[in-house]
């Protein structure tokens, strides 16, 4: 077998190289030649091509993502900010929490089960690489039309994959979203969030400092997973007798991952590691170049000692392989034996593959021959950066002029009643427990709240009751109408969801799912969303700690709705003080907090009843969101409310129905005099929540709202076994439950 060495490359400047097939542009290939002063070897070309891909280099998004750092609000809570594998937030009592959301969209469309499963695996490794113990996962999911045949292939596979991997790891899945829209038909969005907990002193950053320190690869053996690109390199350039084209699908092994968690945390606990990095996209190319680049720069790796699952792999393929459940650690020589002993105890394969050197080059050898000699920063951090052309889409004005206010609204009770039932039974609004009950939600015994609550909540200290709450939200329909506002609305909803459970919002992670950056309209949407989110994070005082960008989400020339998904982390001093969503006590008073305006653009009502998307999304008022959150948190802490539910898609009636069904009690509602019934029920005005107040607390609660200037309107009472809008209609709970719970099992079970 022949392979390309640095020496050979220096002497053969004109050799043809498959840079285009590997996804590099001509100017990028020229840039690599300029950096190296010669043509790259096959192995170097492999590394640059994967590391300079959009996915790894953020080359189109970087100029916009900068704002999240530049505009970050001052925050005492942030221990590790954006740029590390995951941000770390101080939650008090010596505890720190790390959390991050990532996308696994494309793999999940090709092979739903394994794509979604390995998405969980990847985000969990990001968390353990920070030295934290994973305590929960969440999954924001978006699929094509619920009744489309391909959705029946994708959704059950994705859900089973998330359940299969997460349940085997023993991690509770405490929330997320499931949204259907035809725009995601050929391009579902499968995002995964993981949250981990550690003590302050246990925070670890990925870097390779200290000459002579050993580089240890541990975990699964390396196979030909996920290296579609490398096969081009291997088969067309070096060895035509290669076996079949390598698949781009990776298969995960959660039991191996569980061992990695325990093994890694034990090594951290004994203070054995200088730096650590998980192997995700771009595998060893990424881990070695990033570790070296974050350290002093020098590293020497013997690639032929990497344990292989398939002995026929070429060095290029080994560098690009995305085999799952692997990690890379930098360990001082004196601690190597102990590190390897821990790996052996957990039955984890571990191999010293190299060491930190005093130079500033990453050098990789294959059976004694040098095949890579590069400055690691040029691979890992100083890749190409593009200021891509942007243009406000030409269709936007027409779309926004197509106002939802002109859609006919029912005038009588029967009409309203029928539309409420349609809304509640629509796939997006219907009960998702057929999906979430396939996930283990309560394993580990610390889950305080899980779906369908406004946010998931996990207790992190059994003695004091300290806990964290997490919510993820995103509304592609809003963002399509206005990407700047859409991103802010995603943050506002997530923030509100956390506050509704009584937790104080602290920090943000985001997964920005967008179409092609090479289309000026898509790039404009992305830029607007980044600007909107960064501005809103500054106003709300919740910094972005990290996240992920997923571009090229489209099928042919059909782009998805721009879909920024925002996760908010909050802290609650004592989880016993949480506020649930269920209306559980007859006779309690229902108050609507905030103001209701006629805002139906992009609403669930306009989608379900009229199949309409147009007009403007609801107005953003971040000061109001902050005030609402303060009231919800105070009321929770002081025991003034027994239930709270945030108002978002579907409006007031959706929230009331959910809280009634969860608590098993009905509600009698009265339409405020100033509002039209349909607007009262279906408007999606922001900065609102519905709360259940015990009669004994009514005065204290309304006084607090009055003193702080938050509108609070008494709209009814928890009562009976129907949801009744006085003078208009009533729907028995049994009928609502049947409608709400039937839809998803009928489609997918």
């Amino acid at each position: 077998m022949t392979f390309d060495t640095v020496a050979y490359a220096s002497g053969s400047p004109d050799a043809e190289q498959p840079w285009a097939e590997l996804g590099l542009k001509h100017n990028e290939y020229e840039q690599i030649r300029e950096i190296l002063g010669r043509r790259p070897t096959g192995a170097e070309l492999a590394m640059y091509s994967v590391m300079w891909s959009e996915h790894c280099s953020y080359k189109s998004s970087k100029v916009h993502l900068k704002q999240f750092g530049d505009k970050a609000p001052p925050s005492d809570a942030l221990l590790v900010g954006i740029g590390e594998q995951a941000g770390v937030v101080d939650v008090g009592q010596g505890y720190a929490v790390t959390f991050k959301v990532e996308s696994h969209n494309h793999p999940s469309y090709v092979e739903p089960y394994q794509g979604a499963a390995t998405g969980i695996g990847g985000i969990v490794r990001d968390i353990i690489a920070m030295g934290a113990r994973p305590v929960a996962v969440m999954d924001p999911l978006r699929f094509g039309a619920a009744d489309h045949p391909d959705t029946k292939r994708v959704l059950p596979g994705v859900v089973a994959g998330i359940g299969g991997y997460g349940n085997c790891l023993g991690l509770p899945n405490i929330g997320g979203e499931v949204v259907f829209d035809p725009c995601y038909q050929g391009n579902p969005l499968v995002n995964a969030l993981c949250v981990g907990v550690m003590r302050h002193e246990d925070i670890h950053l990925a870097k390779a400092a200290g000459v002579g320190n050993k580089v240890i690869l541990y975990g699964a053996r390396t196979g030909g997973d996920g290296i579609g690109g490398a096969s081009i390199l291997a088969s067309e350039t070096f060895d035509d007798a290669k076996p079949s084209k390598r698949p781009s699908v990776q298969v995960g092994d959660p039991f191996q991952e569980k061992l990695l968690i325990e093994c890694t945390l034990e090594a951290f606990h004994e203070d054995l590691v200088v730096g650590i990095q998980d192997l995700g996209a771009a595998g060893l190319s990424c881990a070695t170049s990033e570790l070296a680049s974050n350290g002093t720069g020098g590293m020497r790796v013997e690639l032929d000692v990497v344990p292989l699952r398939d002995a026929t792999l070429s060095p290029e393929e080994i560098l690009m392989s995305e085999s799952q459940e692997r990690m890379c650690a930098v360990v001082e020589p004196a601690k190597v034996d102990r590190f390897l002993a821990i790996c052996e105890k957990w039955d984890v394969t571990a191999t010293v593959i190299g060491e930190v050197t005093d130079g500033d080059r990453l050098e990789i050898y294959w059976h004694g021959e040098q095949i890579v000699d590069v400055p690691p920063r040029t691979v890992a951090h100083d890749g190409p950066v593009y200021e891509r052309p942007m243009a406000r889409p030409g269709w936007l004005d027409a779309l926004r002029a197509d106002d939802a206010a002109k859609l006919p609204r029912p005038a009588d009770g029967d009409g309203l009643r029928a539309q409420v039932l349609r809304l509640v039974g629509s796939p997006n609004q219907a009960d998702k427990s057929w999906i979430t009950s396939q996930y283990d939600r309560f394993v580990l015994g610390n889950t305080v709240l899980a779906q369908p609550e406004d946010s998931g909540m996990i207790r992190i200290d059994e003695e004091t009751g300290l806990g964290v709450a997490l919510a993820t939200d995103g509304n592609g329909r809003y963002a399509k109408l206005d990407p700047y506002a859409g991103a802010q609305l995603a943050l506002a909803e997530s923030y509100r969801n956390v506050a509704a459970t009584g937790a104080r919002p602290l920090a943000v992670t985001d997964c920005l799912n967008f179409p092609s950056p090479e289309d000026p309209a898509g790039m404009w949407q992305f830029a607007e969303a980044c600007r909107g989110l960064a501005d809103a994070c500054r106003t709300l005082g919740t910094p972005v700690t990290g996240g992920n960008v997923s571009l090229y989400n489209q099928t042919g020339d059909q782009p998805i709705h721009p879909t920024p998904v925002v996760g908010v982390l909050g802290v609650i001093d004592d989880v016993a003080r949480r506020t649930p969503m269920a209306f559980a006590q007859e006779g309690q008073l229902l108050y609507l907090l905030g103001e209701t305006k006629e805002e139906l653009g992009g609403s669930a009502w306009s989608q379900v009843v009229h199949e309409h998307l147009g007009g403007l999304p609801p107005a953003v008022d971040l000061e109001r969101e902050r005030l609402l959150a303060e009231i919800l948190i105070s009321a929770s802490r002081d025991g003034m409310i027994d239930a709270a539910h945030d108002l978002s898609d579907g409006g007031l009636v959706q929230a009331v129905v959910e809280s009634c069904l969860k608590g098993g009690h009905g509600a009698r509602l009265v339409v405020p005099e100033t509002l039209e019934p349909a607007v009262f029920l279906f408007s999606e005005s922001q900065g609102r929540a519905v709360v259940a107040v015990p009669r004994s607390e009514e005065m204290r609660f309304t006084d607090m709202c009055g003193a702080r200037g938050l509108p609070a309107t008494r709209i009814g009472v928890v009562d009976g076994d129907a949801v009744e809008l006085q003078g208009h209609f009533g729907i028995p709970l049994a009928e609502l439950r049947e409608t709400y719970e039937r839809t998803i099992p009928e489609l997918f079970a």
Partner: protein, 89 residues
């Protein structure tokens, strides 16, 4: 009656956690000398009527669309003559 056997195996480059688990167990149980284990599925289809090209075509389609997940698995189809069961030797 003819039997058609469809063997489904994960593609060679796809990780096989089950096969690996078996392989790791072997030395613990005292079985030495096995370098690798891959685990697959075997379907035995008892065909009514003759196994002609049309029947095999249909079985191939069945294997490709239902029995195997061809994104990650390969399959082979072969005809196996079976002794008539229940007959005296």
């Amino acid at each position: 009656m003819a039997r058609v056997v469809v063997d489904v195996m994960l593609k060679p480059e796809i990780l096989d956690p089950q096969g690996q688990a078996v392989q790791r167990a072997l030395p613990r149980l005292g079985f030495a000398g096995i370098a690798d284990v891959r685990q697959g599925k075997r379907f035995e289809l008892e065909v009514e009527g003759p196994v002609d090209d049309a029947a095999l075509d249909q079985i191939n389609t069945m294997a490709e669309t239902f029995l195997a997940n061809t994104v990650i698995e390969d399959f082979t189809v072969r005809v196996e003559e079976v002794a008539h069961r229940g007959e005296a030797k």
